[in-house]
Symmetry: C2
Subunit: 118 residues, 2 copies
DNA sequence: TCGATATTTCCATATTTATCGAATCGTCGG
DNA sequence: CCGACGATTCGATAAATATGGAAATATCGA
């Protein structure tokens, strides 16, 4: 169903989805929550947003393929779609480096520094 | 002057800057152009945009720190600010992985696949 | 200094995006 | 079946963004 090569249009949708205070915050919470995810209501509480506003934002993230929703009883649980995030980063680095050995690619591929510092 | 740790607000500015058809296209052209960059007029021609519109978009990219401008005679030459792009990607992966060994980090750090395919 | 060129700034307008209450839909417990 | 709960959809309004012509700014060549 997925694994579609990210087009420019798709990339813009993903960037737009992330380029908003509440959505970026929501996405980060979901990433931290891991595979278990979080119910919409919990996100609304933590972000201090009315349910309808949050629902609007979650729809954007879902439309961009950055989050996935599953119903669990009355709640709807959202999880971050890491592969989609992965694809976005891949597209950005690809288009940034375009096969050339630029420092963006280099910096992105240095596990020692990136991991060791933490 | 730069090398500021990217805040969430700064990240949103960068994402917003990139999350627009013409700006993403302009940025990609600048990346391809490399350190020599391209004059504003050339970008306007290639993108088929009126000068004033392009100027507006370039201002956004510059404000986000993603491009730099230098005057050369009558033209103003724009270049992609790779370090800023680098920082953006770093922020996204950091916040995506948060120190955890998630597959985004893994996928991002596989030079063989990413480079070999091209 | 004058005219031509390259770009930006200004301004009005059009389009898109965000916000949130109210109404609606699906699910559960009794 | 009914009331409550969790969430989305709808709709109206507010705010932010994009667009492009006209005017202003800066630089160059003669």
């Amino acid at each position: 169903m997925n694994a579609v090569p990210p087009t420019a249009a798709h990339t813009i949708r993903a960037l737009s989805a992330l380029a908003q205070e509440h959505r970026l915050a929501a996405f980060r919470l979901l990433v931290q929550a891991g595979p278990d995810g979080l119910p919409a209501g919990e996100l609304a509480t933590r972000l201090g947003l009315p349910a309808s506003s949050l629902s609007f934002h979650l729809a954007q993230l879902a439309n961009a393929g950055l989050v996935e929703a599953r119903r669990q009883s009355r709640s709807i649980i959202y999880t971050a779609a890491l592969p989609a995030m992965n694809a976005l980063l891949g597209y950005l680095t690809e288009n940034c480096c375009g096969g050339l050995p630029c420092d963006v690619a280099a910096a992105c591929c240095e596990p020692e520094e990136a991991r060791g510092a933490a």
